[in-house]
Subunit: 591 residues, 2 copies
């Protein structure tokens, strides 16, 4: 098809171009016919320019423009003019000019889209996903993907500048079922054998350290066959990083530099470094979460010391069995009604709490159904510990350490919402969570599992506990938290083959299983592995947070639904008999 | 483990550091014990530094260094000194200094590697692949991957600078068996259904043009379940590009800029643009290849005009049936012996030629067993057409157009090798091949198939031939050729739903099949698709050529063997019953 190529984009023309003969290519955003004069807002990725068809200026062009409708694709040639006084549009960057059209070519027509191409849309998400190519025409989606583009470049330039080497690792790898479920890929050549798609390039990046690449990074797709949630997809993008001859602080410093650069270049915000470091224990006890949102205070306080000898057995028994009593002062909420307090009680009960103890602090003392169980001294020390003043509401939860703190952490977030503590213009808050436990007990597997992954190094001082009291061992593991979201996690790795064996033993892997699954990695460590460590960022979630969105699907070009469907192309779909035969597999009958 | 972190890398110290107390971390490259003084070349990715243990300088350190062996990992602290006169090593960047060691920590030991970590290696490739993490310690491999790293950054910075948007497309997509074989991924949630890994993001990038992203790029893994060759892997990396409102010349110009940048930044070579453009027909007739190596001349010449009325029926019949007679002048090879000529004849016969006609040009005329069949006039016109002089050897092949030219193209390369036409310092030669046929006949499928792919636009002037003489239709398709290798291929796409339907019809796809396979794309085109086109580079092959390697496995960190095995981790491997059960598949019995 012959047509005139654009001389400018639709976002480019300014007053300095007045009088120039130019050509634009783009989509019809809006068309208005005002008393015989046709105005079209012509749109492309770069902006919108108003083009004008006047019968007296060019009758042929005007005639040809009569049938044009929204979303048609045009090539137009004409002369830039200053807009008549009073018709300027200050909201457009091109709003001081328009273009008088001499020639129009219709490059493509468009049928009526299933929803309007506009910023605010109330179409349901399934319709948007089915017609994703139209949804992506909308400015908010274009903005999100352009931000994502920018973040890729910032990340890579940062690592390149800091001597990291970008290395691609395989997508067809060995299935090592430890952790999440693998996606399998049947082999045609090797009957009955399967590749797995990577859950992460973990083993490869450690091998690259053994190879001496020293600093590695990659922005890479990873895959987990797990049930999906709002911020999960089967395939997700990770910024994957590994460094040799480092400890935790070296990793922190390098990644803080990255975050600083991202904030500076995307929003001109100067992030203060170093970030706060909180141990897992501190974070749990103070914020009831290993990904606390520090954009507001509202700290929790452990009341264990005060109450461990209390005559109120609910408290003292809990504490003496290793549990905890945690308190929170909801400043100024002392006027909560009984009804409001019942709602809060229901809230924590739904999360599994036995109950909620509330204390309204009044000018006349403490008002609470529970107060009768406590001594005056205890009442006083609680109000003191929680820094309570008349008008405040104190909330107490007791129970098993992690469970009670987690529930209290949720209540903290709920109270922050009710108290409107999170301001719209609040600055981003990033922090490191450190000193995670190396193991956690899995109810499902009835055994210890690695809290991070089986390559994570224990703290040097805890190594001796690995065989005797493994649950007390802390790990050189860390998470990076931004505004209450975990955006990255990593660890210093085990680099001694002996310690790695000890780790596998603690995880209940037999020598044979360990050899079968990770033998090549343990073998590699025998040939001179350097101390190393790394981190991986959940890139989708990071972009989501930077874009101010609440679902990662808003920052992924072609996401799948929560049941893993692509509504646009209908995948997954049935395979042909021929395909299955070549792969030596068949679909099983029955359910 | 506590150890002192490096203050410098092993490639960093210079004379200006003399006297400084520094720490290095690295691997023992070579260890020499010279009369009680121990010298170690300590290695990391950045270089090598000689460290010295003298008993009189520091006895403890010297003692601790006695057991150290190759590939052990050390942390050493000491003082930089000027090397004693006469012991400088000009081959090392650090060769004017060494470091007197006060303190050594052995970070890790190493067992003896299966091969030496050295530049030249005669280990077989399987051993190298099994111990890839050691193979990657070798400098040539590190150099290749560092070059690859650099090329990623150059490519992305170039596209970013030119307003291209990097967008990730899905890895779990719909299987559309057209072209190569898909890798399938069974779905756990949707029983009996499968995703496919992308052979290329072709449909997605076209949809992104429909979305108005205007310029898209991505460096992305693609997958083809085809049998492997030296320059093929199941998974390969592609630079994927698409642009809106462009024709072929716009694509050429943008990609020439990229190649210019790559040569400039990797080897400081100033590539001349624009590149030569040759039509497919010209390339075949002049070089017998659609990826000609132009680093040497040695052109072929069509003798059809001269010989179509020849009395020698072998020639005239061939030409009149649509075949060709092609001639090549091997300048100065007139002294080839009968034995050498028999070898050449065997060479072309193995490629499928009926025979090779050779003519030795002597001072006494033409010496050839075939000469008796030609008239004097014909002999004269052949020598003239081939610009033959005494001492030259003329080679003629006749036969079906494509077959004969392809064989002659191979013979051209063979003669170039024999004549040593390719100089070591020859400049790179890049060119575009254009005007490919839209269709080619597939012997296997007994039907026309798309030579490029089914979204390629025919030349505007040929559209009318699509239904009547499809084999005469030329495509807006192009390849970029570098030194005889195709490094990229692309096309201007069909953007009209009607023309796309016509294309599917010509390919023998029923409306239902077309709808089933590509319905979502054709549907998208109804909502206002812009004219667009693009290209994809085979990145592995490109890096291979830039690195001067002859196998892509030399520029891939963890490649598979030609039977698709990963010798390092033993994938593909058997899946557990549990895994298969969850995926609703079973491995078929029998063969």
């Amino acid at each position: 098809m012959n047509y005139i190529k654009r001389t400018h984009t639709c976002g480019e023309l300014r007053e300095k171009n007045i009088g120039e003969k130019i050509t634009l290519n783009g989509w019809v955003d809006v068309r208005r016919d005002l008393g015989g004069v046709i105005f079209i807002d012509l749109r492309d990725r770069y902006g919108i320019t108003q083009i004008v068809f006047e019968p007296h200026y060019n009758e042929t062009a005007h005639n040809n423009a009569k049938d044009v409708r929204s979303e048609w694709v045009l090539s137009v040639t004409g002369t830039v003019r200053k807009r008549p006084e009073g018709t300027e549009n200050p909201e457009l960057e091109t709003g001081l000019i328009d273009v008088m059209i001499d020639e129009i070519t219709i490059l493509n027509k468009a049928i009526t889209p299933p929803f309007q191409i506009q910023d605010e849309l109330d179409a349901n998400e399934d319709l948007r996903l089915k017609y994703r190519y139209l949804d992506l025409r909308r400015k908010p989606m274009q903005k999100n993907l352009l931000l994502r583009h920018k973040m890729y470049q910032i990340v890579r330039n940062y690592f390149d500048k800091n001597s990291f080497v970008e290395i691609e690792t395989p997508f067809l790898m060995k299935s090592t079922p430890e952790g999440a479920r693998d996606f399998l890929v049947p082999s045609r050549i090797h009957k009955g054998h399967f590749y797995a798609l990577p859950q992460s390039p973990q083993t490869y990046k450690q091998l690259l350290m053994v190879s001496g690449f020293d600093r590695y990074f990659q922005i890479v797709k990873c895959f987990r066959d797990e049930d999906l949630r709002a911020d999960r997809q089967y395939e997700f993008t990770q910024i994957d990083v590994e460094m040799s001859f480092v400890d935790e602080e070296n990793v922190f410093e390098m990644m803080e530099g990255l975050m600083k650069e991202l904030f500076l270049q995307t929003s001109n915000f100067n992030l203060q470094t170093p970030f706060l470091r909180l141990s897992y224990k501190e974070a749990m006890e103070t914020y009831g979460s290993d990904k606390p949102d520090l954009r507001f205070e509202l700290k929790m306080t452990s009341l264990n010391e005060l109450l461990k000898t209390s005559g109120f057995k609910v408290f003292s028994d809990t504490i003496n069995k290793g549990g905890t009593v945690s308190g929170l002062n909801a400043v100024g909420c002392g006027n909560y009604t009984r009804n409001q307090l019942d709602v809060l009680t229901d809230y924590v009960k739904k999360l599994g709490a036995g109950g909620l103890i509330w204390i309204r602090v009044t000018d006349n003392g403490l008002d609470s159904p529970t107060m009768k169980f406590l001594s005056d001294e205890e009442k006083q020390s609680i109000t003191k510990a929680l820094n309570a003043k008349p008008g405040d509401l104190l909330l107490l939860i007791s129970g098993e350490w992690k469970k009670a703190l987690t529930i209290m952490g949720n209540l903290r977030l709920e109270m922050a919402r009710r108290m409107e503590l999170l301001k719209n213009n609040s600055e981003p808050k990033l922090l490191w969570i450190t000193d995670f436990p190396l193991f956690e007990y899995s109810e499902a597997d009835k055994r210890l599992v690695a809290m991070h992954h089986p390559f994570t190094s224990p703290k040097d001082s805890d190594i001796e506990l690995m065989e005797t009291e493994p649950q007390k061992v802390h790990a050189k593991a860390y998470d990076l938290v931004m505004n209450g979201n975990e955006i990255a996690g990593g660890s210093i790795r085990i680099f001694s083959p002996e310690l790695q064996s000890k780790m596998f033993t603690a995880l209940g892997l037999s020598k044979e299983e360990a050899e079968e699954k990770f033998g090549f990695l343990m073998n590699a460590f025998k040939y001179g592995a350097p101390p190393h460590g790394g981190i991986a960022f959940g890139f989708d979630r990071m972009v989501m947070l930077f874009a101010g969105e609440s679902s990662i699907r808003e920052v992924i070009a072609f996401p799948k639904t929560s049941s893993g469907l692509s509504l646009m192309d209908g995948s997954p779909s049935a395979a042909s008999e021929e395909q299955l035969k070549e792969l030596h597999i068949k679909v099983k009958g029955g359910d």
